[in-house]
């Protein structure tokens, strides 16, 4: 995983503001007006990001590999 870069997006229309991601991965997500938003659109690969995406109850967090565009979360 080292050296990889990931793209992180939050679909704010789908987000229900559960606070899962901002609470469990505060270095990567924040709540703005009750909905989540990624702090950075592109990040170094980190389990915390994947964990937050997998924990999202409405799968509003999309994580893809930079370059290949391969979708890492949510599972398809």
């Amino acid at each position: 995983m080292s050296g990889q870069r990931w793209l992180v997006e939050v679909d704010r229309d789908v987000c229900i503001g559960s606070g899962m991601c901002a609470g469990s991965a505060p270095a990567f997500f924040e709540l703005v007006d009750g909905r989540s938003r990624p702090l950075h659109g592109e990040v170094d690969a980190d389990d915390e990001v994947l964990g937050a995406a997998e924990s999202c109850p409405v799968e509003a967090i999309l994580v893809r590999e930079v370059g290949t565009g391969r979708q890492l979360a949510p599972e398809e």
Binding site: G23, S24, P26, G51
Partner: protein
């Protein structure tokens, strides 16, 4: 602005009522309008802060400066003698919490739950049909509200429904609704743990496509969690997976019986059921007492009070859901309410794992009742209602209904 503003006052005895009423205790409304945070004393443990406003509650529940893992020891404020959630997922902070919960969370996403809707509808329609065949009056808890979530969660997890009498009884050890003697709590807790360990061993020998088998793969093959963590997580899912829905559906029926215009509106417009469920989750104060205090890891300002590092804070979601700063006419049940960002399923890392499943079950439960028994009424008067004991959830042991 400081702790001293209220630290000299005697803490308020908490909870504010015994939970034998559906109305939220009036004291919360006073506290929401008072500056700072309240100081309360629960039956066990030290005194602590209580956040009653929406924004304050969300900070306590969602801000990583607050910890659940730090809530250990005899001083932890709690409504029961035993430590609630001991050894369970609710005692963990990220990243351990994320690692363990992640093993199950994929099974509870909105997308996966939607695939279970059709089957859940069949289950609940059959249950309602059977209740109607037996004739009125009937106990809504026994015939519909309890079997519905127990069937759904046991099938999903892979726990034989035929074992329900045993696992429902043992579950009480983790809910403390029935004020069991301490030795019984220990006995039931061990029985449920042994039972679940046995099921895990069965799946190891012969895997199936249920959640228990999927969780076991995460444990044995991916080494994401230990077997102890797996067993605890499976127990949490089984226990939390039925008690709350089983209590809320009768609560909803009771509330809609009193607010008959809202029931009639749903009969006319069943498309409003999802919105009604959100409003009922907001309005019904399910917990008798706020529990599971969060401990400040560092000094944090909440609601104009400086909470010192190491101090516990409780957040009342029931009170937050009545905050006029967020909800117009907050004490009114209004199933037409559109903007409804309630935190009835909690907030932050411990936001209810089964929230989407609970929503779906409650929607299908309500829909089946509206469609099949439109004349449904509570069959007993206010003074004959059979309220649950204990300090956990507010609701009915039995709810006789007629139609």
């Amino acid at each position: 602005m400081t702790e001293n503003a209220t630290a000299d006052d005697q803490p308020l005895p908490y909870p504010f009522g015994n939970g034998r009423q559906i109305e939220l205790e009036r004291r919360y409304a006073e506290l929401r309008e008072a500056p700072g945070l309240a100081r309360v004393q629960l039956p066990y443990g030290r005194d602590c802060w209580l956040a009653t406003r929406y924004e304050d509650a969300k900070i306590v529940l969602g801000d990583p400066r607050f910890s659940r893992a730090a809530a250990v020891g005899p001083d932890v404020p709690r409504p029961n003698p035993e430590q609630p959630g001991e050894g369970g997922i609710l005692m963990l902070d990220p990243p351990e919490h994320t690692r363990i919960r992640g093993v199950a969370s994929r099974a509870f996403t909105a997308r996966r739950v939607e695939r279970m809707r059709e089957h859940t509808r069949e289950i609940v329609e059959r249950l309602v049909d059977e209740m109607v065949e037996r004739g009125a009056p009937a106990d809504l808890v026994e015939h519909v509200a309890l079997p519905l979530p127990v069937m759904v969660i046991s099938e999903m997890l892979g726990v034989p429904y035929s074992d329900r009498d045993d696992f429902q009884r043992w579950s009480n050890a983790f809910l403390s609704t029935s004020l069991l003697p301490p030795e019984t709590v220990i006995e039931y807790g061990k029985a449920l743990r042994d039972y679940m360990t046995g099921l895990v061993e069965q799946r190891r020998a012969a895997p199936t496509d249920d959640l228990l088998s999927a969780m076991l793969r995460a444990s044995d093959e991916e080494e994401r969690i230990t077997q102890d963590e797996l067993v605890n997580l499976a127990i949490a899912i089984l226990v939390a997976g039925h008690e709350t829905t089983a209590t809320q559906l009768p609560n909803f029926v009771y509330v809609l019986d009193r607010e008959r215009d809202q029931w009639d509106l749903l009969l006319e417009r069943p498309d409003l059921v999802p919105r009604a469920v959100e409003e009922l989750v907001r309005w019904v104060p399910l917990g008798v007492s706020s529990a599971f205090p969060r401990y400040a890891r560092e000094d944090v300002e909440v609601g104009g009070v400086l909470v010192r590092a190491g101090e516990p804070v409780l957040a009342s979601v029931a009170s937050a859901n009545r905050d006029r700063r967020v909800f117009a006419d907050p004490d009114r049940l209004d199933i037409l309410r559109e903007d409804n960002p309630h935190i009835g399923f909690g907030h932050g890392p411990h936001h209810c794992l089964g929230a989407q499943l609970a929503r779906m079950e409650l929607q299908e439960g309500l829909r089946a009742l509206l469609r099949k028994v439109p004349t449904l009424r509570v069959a007993v008067g206010e003074d004959e209602l059979d309220w649950k004991d204990g300090m956990f959830v507010r609701g009915f042991r039995t709810l006789p209904v007629t139609w």
